[in-house]
Every structure is written in C-alpha cells, then in structure tokens.
Amino acid sequence: MNDTAHVPPNVAAPCPPHATPTPPEPDERRVVGWGAIADALLKDPDMLLSALTGRSASGLIGRLAALALSGTAAYGFVVGLFPGGLQVVAVPLKLAGGLLASALICWPSLYILLCLSGARQTALQVLGLLAAALALLTLLLAGFAPVAWIFTLSTRSPSFMGALHLLLWAVSCAFALRRLGLGLEALNGRPMRALPVWGAVFVLVCLQMTATLRPLLSPFSGWEFAPRAFFLETWFR
C-alpha cells in the first residue's frame, strides 16, 4: 500500500526534518527596503542589476518607479517654490507625470535598440533597467534640490532658474545614462552601441515635455495644457 494514501487532501504534507524553504538569493534579499534600494543605486549597481534580472524583479521595478516618481516630486516641490502659490503643488505633480510619460514613450525604442545591439534582456527587464536609471536620475536631482533652493531664495530671474534646473538635470541625466550603459554592458558582455542614439531621443522627449507641462517657473495658470509649441520656442520667447 502506498504511504501517501493516509495524507488527507488539501493538507500540506509535513516537511522532512532537515528541509528548509529555499532562501532568497542574497542580492534579492538586500534590495528590499527603500534605503537598500537607494544604497544599491548609488554604491552597488551590480547587486541591483542581479536583482533586476532575478525572480522578484517586478516588485523591485515597482519600488524603483515609486522612488523615481517621489524623487521627481520632491525636486518639483523646490522648482515650484520659485513661482510659489499653487505651483508648489502643481509642479511636483506635473514633473512626476512628465517623467512617467517620457519613460513610457521611450521604452519601446529602448527595447528595440538594445535588441539590435545584441542585448538579451526581455522587455520587462529593460523596463526595470530604465526604472533604475530614472530612480538614480531623480535621486541625484533630489540631492541637488538644496542647491536649487538656495538660488530660489535670492534670484527673481526665471531665465537663470530655468538654466540652473536644466544644468542640474543634465548632470543627473548624464550619470543615469552612463550607469545604464555600464549596467547593460556588464549584463551582456559588450557595449550597447545604439544606447547613445536612444539617449538623444530620451533627452529630446524630456525637453519637449518641459514645453508640454509649462508653465513651470511662472505662476499657476490652470490645469489645462498650454498651446502646442516646440520647446526651444518656449525657452527663448
């Protein structure tokens, strides 16, 4: 007679005495909390890469996206302090929404260009890597926020503040794109030659987003979109 016949249905069989549940891989365990994610973004990108290509990647992608959006909103709060009033609330929302929209607009081209460069990642893994790059970008921006804030206190020139925000964003973006390139190179064992092309597209979309979401540095003028315009035209008008 078969021994297992005595086990009633829907009741888990007892574990053998020495059996223990499979522990999560070390890299996955260490990037669970928000602090661990920020640490991994800044200090240990290899661990983050292995976690993003591991089993619990989708949860991590969600946390990275949340970090990116909250970091953008935090920086947006400082941007909104310059015009003041309702912009303190509106600009963080606009910038977070704009970052999310830019990422979604550019994600398909990133995936296809990486595939053309020989990358082996799936579309979801590429999304995770993009979320990590954006989280790093916004983490750096949040770090620069006090610098921007001190200028907000003293200057009244929107042109100067616009140029300063653009400079800080450009520095953060350069670091984020560089880290994305290095991470992909580490994962695939070869440089991703098409990544600079995608970087240019992403920057262009983000810059146009500043025109779509305007006004950012002048007083609040309602929630509707501003008239259609190319970003350079709105900057130098």
Binding site: P108, S109, I112, C115, L116, V201, Q208, A229, F230
Partner: protein
C-alpha cells in the same frame, strides 16, 4: 482558443521582435535549415504591418485624422509592395550571382530586413506621436516650418532605419551565402533592386504628411503621370 494562444506563443518565440532584432546564430541556423517549421514570413509580415501602421499613424497625427488613417494603411502597404514586387528579381539575381538560396530563404531574408526597419520605426512611433501632438498644428502660422522639420525627421528616420535593416540583411546573407564576397554582391544587387522599387512606391504613396492648407490625398496626385526620377529630373532642370 487555447490552440490559437499556443500558435501565437510559438510565433512570438520563433520570430518575435527580440529574436529578429538580435538575429543570433539560432535564427541563422533556422534560416539555413530552410524548413517550414516556423512561419517566419507570416510573423515578419505581421510585424511590418503593425510597426509601419503605428509609425504612419503617428506621423499623420500632426496633419489630420484622415492622414492618420491613410498613414496607417500606406506605410505597411509601401514596405510590403517593396518586398513582393522585387522578390522575383531578387530570386533570379540570387541564382545568377551564386547565392544558392531558395525562394523561401530569399523571401524570409527580405521580409526580415524590412521587419527590422518596421520594428525600429514602430518603436519610435510614441516619440513621433508625442511631437506630432505637441508641435504647433497645421492651422498655426508656424505650420510651414513645422511641416519641413517633420518631413525631415520622417525622411531621416525612415532612411536610418532602412540602413539598420539592410545591415541586418547583410548579416543574414553572410550566414547563408557560400562566401562573404558572394554575400556582398548579392546584398548590393538586392539593395539596388529594392531601392529602385522603394523610391517609386514611396513616390506613388506619398504624401505621408501633406503640407498644410491642401487636401489630403491617398495617392500622390501625380502618381500615375510620371515617376520619382522624372520628378527629380524636372526639379534639377528648373532649378
């Protein structure tokens, strides 16, 4: 329903965007084997339709809803016309130049290259759509300059993606032809053939973005009373 899902999953894993763009040794081996195990031509034809329809619609969004519809129809039509109108000539050139490929291999190579182009353009369609919806519209006073920029972006992206697609075609031919020199000759011959057909097809199916203030036609109004090269020649003489 389950069978349909299985078919789609099989198609995706054998010839999906990732597989096609990476174009690794497994795909080359599959093409070299020349069996009818996976419907690669069907999969890549569908990718051409999907990618180019998205791109055509995104570009046309700047002009009008009618242009969106026309673009979504005309762009895939153009690439399929290029593939199917040049296929007999390409098969013959393949035999004459010593390529030794079968009709199925030629068809798969051409459709694969065009599908890479379509995928690249399709992946850029959200970017084009965003700019088409954000730049000053066709009714604004800046419309003529926006039209020129949009047209330049359209030509540049179609051209650049075509270069990428044909670079992939060379990689395929290098894996399938007897030697690299033959692959090079064959590639050049196919580029010239499909280029010749492509210029005429794009001429007949233009405009993909009609200039402001003029009704949007489906065909080029001069499509059946001349050709691309005559048009260029007349421009040269008049300038």
């Amino acid at each position: 329903m389950q069978t349909f899902r299985t078919h789609v999953a099989h198609l995706w894993s054998a010839a999906g965007p990732g597989v096609l763009c990476r174009m690794d040794a497994a795909l080359s081996a599959q093409l070299r084997a020349d069996d009818d195990g996976a419907p690669l031509s069907l999969a890549w034809s569908l990718l051409i339709v999907a990618g180019m329809a998205c791109f055509g619609a995104a570009v046309g969004a700047w002009r009008s809803p009618q242009q969106v519809l026309y673009g979504a129809v005309k762009m895939p039509l153009m690439l399929h016309a290029v593939a199917w109108l040049s296929i007999v000539a390409n098969v013959m050139l393949n035999w004459l130049l010593g390529g030794g490929l079968s009709l199925r291999q030629v068809r798969r190579c051409i459709l694969g290259a065009l599908a890479v182009q379509a995928l690249l353009l399709g992946s850029l369609s959200p970017v084009f759509l965003f700019f088409a919806c954000q730049l000053p519209g066709p009714e604004s006073w800046q419309a003529p300059s926006v039209y020129r920029y949009l047209l330049a972006a359209l030509v540049a992206s179609v051209g650049a993606s075509g270069v990428v697609g044909y670079a992939r075609l060379f990689r395929l031919l290098a894996a399938l032809a007897p030697d690299r020199a033959t692959a090079g000759r064959l590639w050049l011959a196919w580029v010239l053939t499909t280029g010749l057909v492509g210029t005429q097809c794009s001429w007949m199916l233009s405009p993909f973005v009609q200039q402001p203030g003029v009704p949007v036609p489906f065909w080029n109004t001069a499509a059946f009373s001349g050709n691309f090269f005559e048009h260029v020649w007349r421009h040269v003489l008049n300038s």
